[in-house]
Each structure stands twice: as C-alpha cells, then as structure tokens.
C-alpha cells in the first residue's frame, strides 16, 4: 500500500513537472511582460524595465527560468515554498493565501448542496424509473447541463436578487403566486411519493394545503421582514427530523434508535435558551464549534444509554439527529439577525446583493451580522453553481443505482425477505455511493479550478481573478502559482479517489499487481 502511494506520488510529481513546464513556456513565449513599459513615456522607463527584469529574472530564457521557478517551488519540502514575485511587487504566496479561502468559500456550500440534492433526487428518480417525475427530472437535469453559468448568473441577478429585494419593500405574496407555489409543491411531493391514485391525490392535497397556508401566514404576519422559528417550531421540526433520520438510517422498527433520536430532538428545546444566551454573549466560531461538540457528546451518551446491543447504528442515528436539530438553532439565530441586518445603513432593506463578496459599507462588527452578510453574498453564486452542477449528480446517481438494483445481491436481499428500506438503504445505496464518492472528490478539485467564470460573473476576487490578472498582465509567476495549486489539487484528488475506491470496494486492490 505504502509502496503504491509512493510510486503514484512519484509519477504524479513527474506529471506535474511536465505539465507545468509546458504551460510555463506556452505562457512565456506568447507575451512580453515588458511590452506596456516599452511603450510608455515615463521618464524613468529604463529604470523600471531594468528593475522588473531583475525582479522577475526576465534576462534568463524561459526554459531556464522555469527551473529557477521550480527551485522556489521545491522549497515546499523544507516548509518554505517560494512562488516568486508578482508584477506589482507582492509575493505570489501572499496573494494565493488571500485568494484560496475565498474560492473555497465560494464553491464549498454549492458543492455540498449539489451533492446532497443531486444524489437524493437521483435516487428517487431511479426508484420511480419511467414515472412522470423521472421524465421531468431528466429533462430538468439536461437543461441544467446545457446552461452557460454566465447566462444563468445574469438571470438570477435580475429575477432572484433584484425582484426579491423589490418584493421585500412590500412583502405581500400575491394570490396567484400562492396558488402556483401550492400547486407546484403539491405536484412535486405527490410525484415523489407516488403510489396509487388515491395516495397521489392525498399527498397532493396535503402538500399544496401546507404550502398555501404557510405562505399566506408568512405573508400576512410580516415574516419575511422579521423571520424566526421559535422554540415550538424548532421542537416540531426536530421531531420530524428524528423520525426521518431514524427511518432512513435504521428503520422505525428499531425502537431504541427512535427513542434516542426523539430524546435528542426533545433536548433541542431544552437548550434553546442556553444556546441563544451563548450566541448573544460569546459569539465566535469557537463557541459554535464547542457547542456542536457538546451536542454530539450528549447524543453519543444518550444513544448508549438507550441501546444494549448493536450500538453503532443507534449512536449514528442519534448523532445525525442531534446535529441537524442543533443546526436549526443556528438557522434560527441567523433568522433573528435578519431584521437588524436589514436595518443597517449599508443594507437598507435590499439584502440580496448581486455582486461582490461582502458589503464594504457595513460597519457593524457584530459576529452574526457580518456572518449573515457573507451568507447573503454567497446566496446567488451558490444557487447558480448548485443549479449547474447538481444535474450531473442526478444523472450519475440515477444510472448507478439502476445498475446496482439489477445486481444479483439485490435479488438475494429481496429473496431473504428484507424490507424494501433495508434493501435500498443498506444494500443498494451503499454500493451506489462507491463510484459516486470518487467522482465527488475529483469534481471538487475541478470546481476549484473552474471557478474562474463564476468569480468573474459575481465579482469575487479569488483564484480565478488572480489567474485572469496573471494572464492579462503576462504575470508568469502569478499564473504559475494558480496553476500549481489547481493542478496539484486535481492530481491529489485523483490519487485520493483511487485510494477511496479501494477502501470502499474490497474487490478492488491497489498496489497488488498493477
């Protein structure tokens, strides 16, 4: 195993060397970084040229200069990598250190959302193969597949951000909208649930009714201006989460798991007030993290107290329930921040921005307000990226699950008389996840490399912006710095994907013969 990893790393090193050499020379021969200086009328032009030449070692021919650059990169092994200087005099390492977190923040939420949504919808479409839901989702995913992100972004800015901001000026949902949202959610849920015609209409009625009531209530009570969940709703939602998670994870038949997760759901109302006290008085990432740890520890103990045998799955169920219902508390806190956030001068009741990564005018230092500001700025890019990338997951998880469902071991599982839940969740879903996991890893690396367009549309200054800057200004070190990060990420992601594959699927061995 170790030998396999080392050998792969060696090969990857050679590959990185080769591709960076190609790119360096390709970029170097195609433009002269001094061209704009040579044309300028600045009196100390010659001095500037000379200093830039010295700084960027432009007197060395590109193939040789590449090795000077490489020498700096090799500093990575002694913990001191030198990415060189960029044209404006700052070090590339510094710019990269500023840009990488921005890009990761931009794509992280979207990737996670896309994965979760895509896989769940993909699985439902596979289980309801050839249903109307399947066909419509197939169409939707193909449509998303074919959308250029820059085009979607402009549409979202116009129709989602600006009209939502306009709507907030007078937050009354028109009747027509209520009806169409109710119809849509009715059809959506009814087609997911499926079943006989009777169940279809019952689900349709229930979902449409709930949606219509909720929206009317929100609209009349001014909820959009001052949203909150409150302890009662949190309790109700937590109990719902407890039932859902238990059903998916071990099945409602497992009473110990159900009790444990219901207890965790009930606890959410107990620590509603203490948690809000902490949120108000000690707001920081650390305290949120510590509270998450405490919740998970409690969940583990509760689950162990309720269970005698087969503790693993029960602990898992309780921890997931606890985590999700604690997440509701944080969402509630953000909702409570919504009103003060909108009342700040910088926002002034137009909370969804179309561009940028934070409001520069926002002078509040409040932890929650600044965080909410980040969230609202993330909103549009996240929606755009999710829309575009979840289509792939739908298609892929649908295809994989259908293939898995055709396998002999699924037939065996059914023949043994296992419940449909066990067959799907334990036998089929886990096997579906094997190829999906590897895809996710590679995809994430790819998304970071491909954030160039998203960043430029939404005016974020991350890696893509640096890359653009490097390309337009013939700033070789900057360009190569970005390339080095993205290429290493994609190479490492491929390696991790291979290792994961062999870890998840015992039939595949790495390092043996190949």
């Amino acid at each position: 195993m170790v030998a396999f990893i080392l050998r792969r790393l060696g090969v990857l090193g050679v590959i990185l060397f080769g591709s960076s050499f190609i790119l360096y020379n390709l970029a170097a021969i195609s433009g002269d970084p001094l061209s704009d200086l040579k044309l300028s009328n600045d009196p100390n032009r010659d001095f500037l040229i000379a200093s830039l030449t010295r700084e960027l070692q432009l007197d060395v021919p590109p193939p040789a200069r590449y090795f000077l650059w490489l020498k700096g990169i090799f500093g990575i092994f002694v913990g001191n990598p030198d990415f060189g200087m960029s044209r404006d005099g700052s070090t590339v390492a510094h710019s990269l250190a500023l840009a990488i977190p921005v890009t990761i923040r931009l794509v992280l939420a979207a990737t996670i959302l896309a994965i979760v949504l895509g896989i769940s919808i993909g699985i439902v479409t596979a289980l309801r193969q050839y249903s109307r839901f399947d066909y419509s989702m197939t169409f939707v995913s193909f449509l998303m597949f074919s959308l250029p992100i820059f085009w979607v972004a402009v549409l979202l800015k116009e129709y989602l951000a600006i009209s939502f901001n306009n709507f907030l000026r007078e937050p009354n949902v028109p009747v027509l909208w209520i009806i169409s949202i109710a119809l849509f959610s009715g059809i959506f849920w009814a087609s997911i649930v499926g079943g006989s015609r009777r169940t279809f209409w019952i689900t349709f009625g229930a979902a449409a009714g709930i949606a219509a009531t909720l929206i009317t209530f929100f609209s009349l009570s001014g909820w959009f201006l001052n949203p909150s969940l409150g302890p009662i709703v949190i309790l109700g939602l937590s109990i719902g989460i407890a039932y859902g998670v238990t059903q998916l994870s071990v099945g409602l038949i497992n009473k110990a798991a159900l009790k444990a997760s219901l207890t965790m759901a009930g606890l959410s109302i107990v620590y509603y007030y203490p948690a809000n006290w902490v949120f108000d008085n000690h707001p920081s990432n650390l305290s949120v993290f510590l509270m998450a740890c405490v919740t998970i520890t409690i969940a583990v103990f509760v689950a162990r107290a309720f269970s005698k045998i087969d503790r693993g799955p029960i602990v898992r169920t309780a921890v997931i329930t606890a985590f999700l219902s604690a997440g509701l508390l944080i969402i509630d806190k953000y909702m409570q921040t919504w009103k003060p956030y909108m009342e700040t001068d910088a926002i002034n009741y137009r909370p969804v921005p179309t561009i940028g990564q934070r409001s520069d005018l926002l002078d509040s230092t409040d932890f929650w307000i600044t965080n909410l500001d980040t969230v609202t700025h993330l909103f549009l890019p996240t929606v755009a990226l999710t829309l575009i990338s979840f289509a792939g997951y739908i298609r892929y998880s649908r295809g994989t699950l259908l293939e898995v469902l055709n396998q002999d071991y699924i037939r065996t599982a059914r023949a043994k008389g296992l419940t449909e839940r066990t067959v799907i969740m334990r036998h089929a879903f886990r096997n579906t996840m094997i190829p999906l996991t590897t895809i996710m890893v590679v995809d994430f690396a790819g998304v970071i490399g491909g954030a160039l367009i998203t960043e430029s549309v939404f005016g974020w200054s991350g890696m893509g912006t640096l890359f653009r800057q490097g390309l337009l200004g013939y700033d070789l070190n900057l360009l190569m710095g970005v390339f080095f990060i993205t290429a290493s990420l994609s190479v490492i992601a491929n390696l991790i994907a291979d290792l994961l594959y062999s870890a998840l699927d015992p039939r595949i061995r790495v390092g043996g013969g190949a």
Partner: protein, 362 residues
C-alpha cells in the same frame, strides 16, 4: 414514503414475457438496424436531431457565404453583421431603441401575425441588425464545436486504441501523457490558448482547444479496447492472418463505436459551453469576430433596458447544447445492449394472453 412496499420484484413469468417481446423485436436485424430503431424510438433524441439540423441549416444559409473570394453564395437574410441600418425608435416600449420586430402571436389572438419584421431580434447600440449578429455567432459556435469534436474524437480514438491494443510500455507512456493533459484544467488551458491565439481566428482557437479535449475519450476507448481485444473474434482474425492495423480498424473499432459516438456528442456539448464561456470572459473569440458568448458579455449590462440583446444569444446556446445532450442520451440508450425498452402494459398483457392460450392448447 419512498420505501413503501411496491411491486418491484418482477415475477419470473413477466420477466420472461418481456424478454420474449424484446427478443422478438430484434429478430433478424443487423446491429446497426437495431441501433437505428432504438434511437428513433427515443422521442426526445429524435426531436433534438430535428432541432439541431434545423438550426444548422437555418443559421448557415442566413448570411452571405464567401470562400477564398472565389465561391460566393448569397444568404437569405437581408442584413449582414457589417451593415449599419437606421436605428428603430419611437415605437419601442419604455423609450428604448432598436427593439425586436419578431412577432409570434397569431392574428386571431390579437397579435400582428407570425412575421419576422425588419429586425426580428432587434438592433444593437449602433444599429447593427442583431439577427445577423446572432446568426454569425451561432455559425462560429457551431463550427468551433464541430472542429473541437472532430479533433478531440480523432486524437482520443487513436491514442486510446493504440494504448488499449498494444498495452505494456506503449500504454504506460500514452496514458502518462494523457495524465499530463488532464492535470491542466480545461478552462485554464483554454484561457491561455484562447487569450494568446484567439486573435488568429475562431478556427485556430478551436483547433488548439481540440488538441486538449481528447483525454476523457481516450481513457474510455482504451478501456473498451482492453476488453474487446480478449474476445474470440480478435483471435479468429489473428489466426486468419490479419495485421494489427486491420484488427484495430476493421475488427475492434466498429465494436467500440458506440462508446466513441456517445462520448463525442457529450464532448461537443461541452465544447460549445467552453467556447462561449471563454469568449464571455474575453479569452476566446475576440472582436471584430462574433461569438454567442461575446455577444452576451457585451450586452449583459443592458439586460434591464434591452433584454433581447441578452436573451437571443443565450437561447441559441441552450437549444444547441440541450439538443446535443439529448441526442447523446438517445445514442447511449441505442448502443447499450443492456438497455431494455419499457414494455407497455398493453404489450405485456398481450404476451401474457398469448402464453395462456399456448398453455391451454397444450
């Protein structure tokens, strides 16, 4: 609930009935006939095929066509992208200028009937006919797509075929070379190439992009060749004295053509999005040439006042990419031997009745 008990376990009788129906259908047909039949049964794919052919013909005949100054064909559209007719103003909504004249609402519904008018897609800020510009841009994007597809397909197939067929050292070298290219994210190599060579013309850009677009395909083809070369028909061909070249091109390649065609269609739909994206961020096709991405980039700020400058190029990108994706899906279904058509209830009943009758007769 999702996991409600349902009749997902086919009884053996109905399965064998389905098999019987499926088998009966392909009786006495050649492979390509089966594939063609399956493809034409995929409704979305057939519609998409129609749409894409229509768009191609529509777009390429719209404008004047010149080839090296010798061959000259007049297009059916009156304006060319270079013409600067008078800006239309006065009768546009919200005091804008150059609004589109296309009318799709028929007369009996209170519209002015189906008609193109003088400037169906409106005019840009200096009065150029936007329909002509969109036609030009679509021509560019389509030809870039085809060039990338052709180059990517040929290199990918050859590299994959050689490394899968010969295995060993050749395979190792070629696959490491593929890894070289894969490490460079497509958009990055595209930007570098596009930025520095974009001014040499769209075809040159497409050629360069094609040189980097074959990696996924070559891996697929290699995998296909690795399995196919172990099959009996390859042994038979070798015993009969066929050369390696003959085995690769005459025996294995026709069997791998399904994989190749499907992934080339996907490559092409990716290519049109890549080209438009690159042109959008300014690293692809550059002015004075026209491309759909470039048009969107240029007029995105006028979205609130003159949205047609933004809508029409986007709609063309989407309809092309969508059609190609659907065609690819149809082809995949058609080439996949495991793919079974959904047997309708009626057919199932008919086959069951037939079986019962047969049993009764016994």
């Amino acid at each position: 609930m999702i996991f409600k008990k349902k009749n997902s376990v086919d009884t053996s009788a109905s399965t064998s009935g389905e098999n019987a129906i499926a088998n009966k259908e392909v009786e006495g047909l050649s492979q390509s006939q089966i594939v063609r039949r399956r493809f034409f049964r995929h409704r979305a794919a057939v519609i998409s095929l129609g749409v894409i052919s229509f768009i191609t013909v529509f777009v390429f005949t719209a404008l004047d066509f010149r080839f090296l100054g010798i061959w000259h064909v007049n297009g059916w559209w009156k304006w060319s992208p270079q013409d600067i007719p008078d800006l239309r103003f006065g009768d546009c909504p919200n005091d804008t200028v150059g609004c589109p004249t296309i009318s799709l609402r028929p007369k009996f519904m209170g519209g002015s009937g189906f008609g193109f008018g003088d400037h169906p897609f409106g005019q840009d800020d200096i009065g150029r006919d936007f329909f002509a510009l969109v036609m030009k841009g679509t021509q560019r994007s389509l030809s870039v797509m085809i060039v990338i597809g052709t180059i990517g397909a040929s290199i990918g197939t050859v590299v994959g075929a050689i490394s899968g067929f010969y295995r060993g050292k050749v395979d190792a070298i070629l696959m490491r070379f593929t890894d070289f290219i894969i490490t460079i994210p497509a958009i990055i190599i595209g930007s570098v190439v596009g930025y520095h060579f974009g001014n040499l013309g769209a075809m040159f850009l497409a050629f360069y992009l094609g040189l980097f677009a074959w990696t996924g395909l070559s891996r697929l083809v290699r995998g296909e060749f690795l399995t196919l070369r172990e099959r009996e028909f390859v042994d038979a061909a070798r015993v009969a004295g066929a050369s390696n070249r003959r085995i690769i091109f005459k025996h294995i390649l026709p069997n791998a053509v399904g994989v190749i065609i499907v992934s080339v269609t996907l490559l092409m739909s990716g290519a049109i999005l890549l080209e438009t994206a690159l042109s959008y961020i300014g690293f692809g096709v550059v002015e004075p040439d026209v491309s759909l991405g470039l048009l969107i980039n240029k007029y995105q700020d006028s979205f609130t006042t003159r949205p047609w400058l933004f809508w029409f190029p986007g709609l063309f990108i989407i309809s092309i990419a969508l059609s190609i994706n659907f065609i690819g899906d149809g082809l995949r279904d058609a080439f996949d031997p495991r793919q079974r058509r959904r047997i309708s209830k009626k057919e199932r009943q008919e086959s069951a009745t037939a079986r019962k009758l047969a049993q009764a007769n016994d």
